[in-house]
Amino acid sequence: MRGADVSRDPCPWVILNDAGGAFAMGAIGGGTWHYIKGARNSPYGERFRGGMNAMRSRGPIIGGNFAVWGGMFSTFECVLKGIRQKEDPWNSIGSGAITGGMLAARGGWKAASVSAVFGGVLLALIEGVGIAMSRAFAQQPPAIAPPPAQQ
């Protein structure tokens, strides 16, 4: 019974993990982006300092935004997994839609629904890339003898 590893349910802890990962991603990527932007907007001789300033002031904000997205997404995914008791791509698509809707909720129903559709489509695309990658790289399992013993 190698396959039936029941003990590994990552769910409450994976939220923290995802929020941290998203913060790191946003802080590094946003920091690089704003370093370049700040350096370009500075006069000669002040490029490095201007870039560093922009990075210091803007990078953590982007990281925070990413962390909010990642943490909420992971939370909703765990909720959906707990309610449906199923593990499939619908969980992440649904939680992407809910997260997008919740984060745009202050803009009213219309903005929230547009943002929800956008989040769902985005997560569906990510899931699709994952499925396509696994289809391309995972080898087909060896032939299993399927028929059940019928007496």
């Binding site: 590893d5 199923k86 593990e87 619908w90 969980n91 699709g128 499925i131 696994s134 032939a143 059940p148």
Partner: protein, 246 residues
């Protein structure tokens, strides 16, 4: 210094304005300036020939870029449809068969009210959900088949049973629809680490008939191969010790 920069900017704007004028106007302008109409025409046609080549190369690059992006997007969309929505999509069959398993009274008795379905154990931390082991093939009768395997357990109340669900669906050669061959659950008692039997959630009559027929042919063979070799019971296979009956 400022006025110099201003004059330069003004001349740049003027040039842009000139370029935007109709070709006839440009032509007449250059004629009035250089007094050499024929030469102007010649140089202009030469320069547009070079520009056309460059333009075509740029267009080809754009077409290539847009085409590859559209192809990639279409492939991803197709993959999503094939997995989530199609009749033989792995995720869809997983959802439907798991609903069937949950509705079964025997399963409810063993596992309780909450039955979680999950796939193979994942090796990466970043994996969102566990992949479901499945196989698509064409069987010896020429039908498209899809078999899959996943696991069920009660994770809320932490029962000591685990089930291995095996699903088999086939595409009918006549109607072109996919239908189940069987959904069975092999139950394991993890506390005592022993096999606790099999629950047949769904086995169609046709498939049961097929299995019975193949069992019959196996029983009617002259030598018991027990699945060891590819013996068909022919005379030569009796010489192979692995085919001797114990």
């Amino acid at each position: 210094m400022n006025s110099l920069a201003f004059r330069a900017a003004v001349s740049r704007v003027q040039q842009r304005h000139l370029r935007r004028q109709t070709p006839a106007a440009v032509c007449s302008l250059s004629q009035t300036r250089s007094h050499a109409g024929g030469r102007v025409h010649g140089t202009r046609s030469y320069s547009t020939a070079g520009g056309r080549g460059r333009q075509m190369a740029g267009t080809a690059g754009n077409v290539l870029l847009v085409g590859s992006v559209v192809t990639l997007f279409g492939y991803i969309m197709y993959t999503l449809y094939d997995n989530l929505l199609a009749e033989n999509g792995v995720t869809r069959v997983y959802n439907e068969s798991l609903d069937l398993v949950r509705a079964n009274p025997q399963i409810r008795e063993i596992f309780g009210p909450s039955v979680m379905g999950f796939g193979e154990p994942s090796h990466g931390q970043r994996q969102r959900q566990r992949a479901i082991s499945h196989r698509e093939f064409e069987d010896d009768k020429g039908r498209q088949r899809l078999t899959m395997k996943y696991y069920v357990a009660n994770k809320k109340d932490g029962g000591d049973h685990t089930g291995v669900v095996r699903v088999d669906i086939a595409k009918s050669a006549f109607t072109g629809k996919w239908d189940y061959n069987y959904v069975v659950v092999d139950v394991f008692d993890t506390a005592n680490s022993r096999n606790a039997g099999r629950v047949e959630v769904l086995v169609t009559d046709e498939f049961a008939k097929e299995v019975r027929a193949s069992e019959q042919t196996r029983r009617n063979r002259r030598f018991d191969v027990g699945g060891r070799g590819g013996s068909d019971g022919s005379w030569f296979s009796a010489l192979n010790p692995s085919n001797w009956r114990k």
